[in-house]
Symmetry: C2
Subunit: 346 residues, 2 copies
Amino acid sequence: MATTKRSSGAQRPPTSHDVAELAGVAQSTVSRALNGDPNISEKTRARVVDAAQRLNYSPNVMARSLITRRANRIGVFLSDITNPFYPRLVECLEREFGALGYDLILFSEGSARGDQDHIDHFLGSTIDGLVFTSAKLDFPLGDRLAAARAPTVFLNRHIDDDRFDRVVSENVAGGRLAGELLVELGHRRIAQISGPPQTSTARDRDAGFQAALEELGATLDPAHYRHGPYTHETGFEGCRSLLAEDPPPTAIFCGNDVIALGAWDAAVSAGLEIPGDLTVVGFDDMEVGSWSAIGLTTIRQPLDQMARGSAELLVGRLNGDYDGPGRVLEFPVEMVRRRTAGPPPR
Amino acid sequence: MATTKRSSGAQRPPTSHDVAELAGVAQSTVSRALNGDPNISEKTRARVVDAAQRLNYSPNVMARSLITRRANRIGVFLSDITNPFYPRLVECLEREFGALGYDLILFSEGSARGDQDHIDHFLGSTIDGLVFTSAKLDFPLGDRLAAARAPTVFLNRHIDDDRFDRVVSENVAGGRLAGELLVELGHRRIAQISGPPQTSTARDRDAGFQAALEELGATLDPAHYRHGPYTHETGFEGCRSLLAEDPPPTAIFCGNDVIALGAWDAAVSAGLEIPGDLTVVGFDDMEVGSWSAIGLTTIRQPLDQMARGSAELLVGRLNGDYDGPGRVLEFPVEMVRRRTAGPPPR
DNA sequence: CTGTTAGCGCATTCAG
DNA sequence: CTGAATGCGCTAACAG
C-alpha cells in the first residue's frame, strides 16, 4: 500500500520559466532582473521580483554553475576535525572567503574514500579551489592537482612544492622564542615533545628551538627528545617517560598545544606543581590553554591573518589575476606568557 | 602585459564527449559504461574506461545533478563549530551518511548571511536534505522548510514541531541520573548552571534533574540556579558567583561539559579541591573532561547511534520510503563516573 | 531595454 | 547491445 514513489504531490520547485510566465516576461528577463543587470527597467524588475517572491523562487545553483563554470565554493580539507585547532581556522576561513563571495565546503579526512576523492570534487567542478590545512611534507597529490590546474593553497603547513601557494606562520621563529624563553628562565635540562617528523610545523619549530638552544649554550640532550602525532596521548606518554628519567628535565617545549596539554595532564596527574616543578610551553594558543586553572604558555599564530592571506592568494588565482608559480606568505608569531613557564626548581 | 584572461592555456576539463570520441563510441555509451549499466559489452566498457583514464576524465557533478535531481549531499548546520561537541558529532555523521552514499557539506552559523540562506541551499538543489544540530525551541524556519518540502532532521535538539523528524538523547533521564547521584553522595546544598532556556537540552535536563531532587527530598534552592549560553564563561562566572554564597553549594550540575569545565576552572583557580570541596557534574562526555588531571563526571550521549538514527530517518525520506509526519528517536544516556564527583565536605 | 536562440555536460528516452 | 535525439534550468550572445 501507498506505492506513492514520488508521483503524487511531488510539486517540483519553480523555475525561472514559471516566474517569467507569472510576470509576463521572457525567461531571460527574469535572469537579468534577479542578477542585477543594469539594463533593465525598474518597473519590470519589480514585477519579476514580485513574481519570484510569490512563487518562492530560488535559482537552481547547479544549472547556473554549469554555465558560468563557477561554483563559488571552496573545498577545505581537514585531517582531524576533532583537533580544536581546525575549527578555529575554519571560522576564520569562513569569514574571509565569505567576504569575497565564496562558501566553504568542508571535507574531513574521514569523508574521503581515497586520495582520488579530494581532487574529484574539483574535477567534478563542485568547487572552484582547494585549501589544504594539514598536508604532510610528502603530500602525494601534487602532480594530479597541477595536472588538473586546480587552484590550491596550503595553509598552516608547508609542502616542498613550488607549484603551489603556501601560507604559514613563522614556525622557526616561534621555536626560537620558546628556546630563548626557557634558557632565559634558567633551564638547562630541557626536553622536547615534537609533532610528526613529516610535518613542516614540527620540522620548523624543532629547527628554531634547537638552534636557539645551541646559540645560547644549552643543547638539547637527544635522550630528551620525543615525538608523535599531534595528540593528547603523545604529550601524556611523552611527559611520563621524560619524568621517569633521572634527573628529569625541568622544562618541555611541545610541538603544539594539544601535546602540551597532554604533558600538563601527565605532570599534574603525577602530582607535580607547574611551573614549580616543571615548565611547559606549547604552540597555537588553543582556548583550553587559556583557562585560568591551566594558563599554558604558548606561541600564538595569527590565524585570522593567515586565513585572509589564503583567501587572497586563492581568489587571486580564481580571478585570473595571477597565474604564476607558488607564492609563500609567512606571518609573525607571538609569545603568550602564562602560568606554566617559570624558573627551574632549585 | 600578460592580458591572458582565460584564453591561452585554458584547457577545459575533458567531457564525456571527449571520452566518447577517443573510445570511438557515442556519448551515451560512455555514460552507461561508467555508471555500471548492465546492458553493455565488457569489451566496449573496457575501451571506455581506458579512454576515460587516459583523459583523466571525471564526470561533471553539476550536470549530472541537474538531470538526476539529486546532489547526493546533505547540508549540516552547526551553530558554533568552536564547541568541541559538534566536531565529534560531525565525525559520526560523516561516517553514517557516507555509508549511505552521501557527502556532507557543513554550514556553520557564521557562514549564513541570514536565515534565508539555509533554505536557499536546498532550494538551489545543492543539497538533498538538511540536518540541524542546534536548533532553538523557537526555530523560525519551520514553515519555510515545510513549504519547500525539504527533508530535514533535527539532531541533538528538539523543536516543538511535529512536521519534522527529531533525534535526541534521553535528556530528562540524564538529568535524573545526575540528581540521583548527587543525592546519593549525600549532597543537600545543590546548585545548577544550566544552558539557554530556549534549548530543549537545557529544558529537559533541568526537568529531569529537578524532578529527581524533589522525589528524593532535596529540592533545588532557586538562589542556586544559574544559566547562560553553553560556554566556558557561563560555567566560570556561574561557579564564582555560587562560591560567593554563604554557605556555598557542595555540588553543581552543569548544562553540558563546556559549562562544567568552566565551573571546574573557577573552582580550581579559587584554590578549591575537587571533589573534596565541590562536586561537579557535566553532560556530553567531551574529551577534555576525560583527561586524567580533570576526570569530569558526566553523562554520555551515544553520538554514533544518534548520528546513525538521523541518517536513517533522513535517507528514508530521500528514498521516498517514508513521507509522513515527524518521527522522534530517543537514545539512552549513560553516567560516566570520574573524579569530580564525591561526597560533600563535612 | 527586452525577446529569441543557443548551448553548459550529462542521463535518459527511443530507435535500431 | 549501441547510437541519435531530447532536455534538466540557467546564462550569455545576438537581435531588435
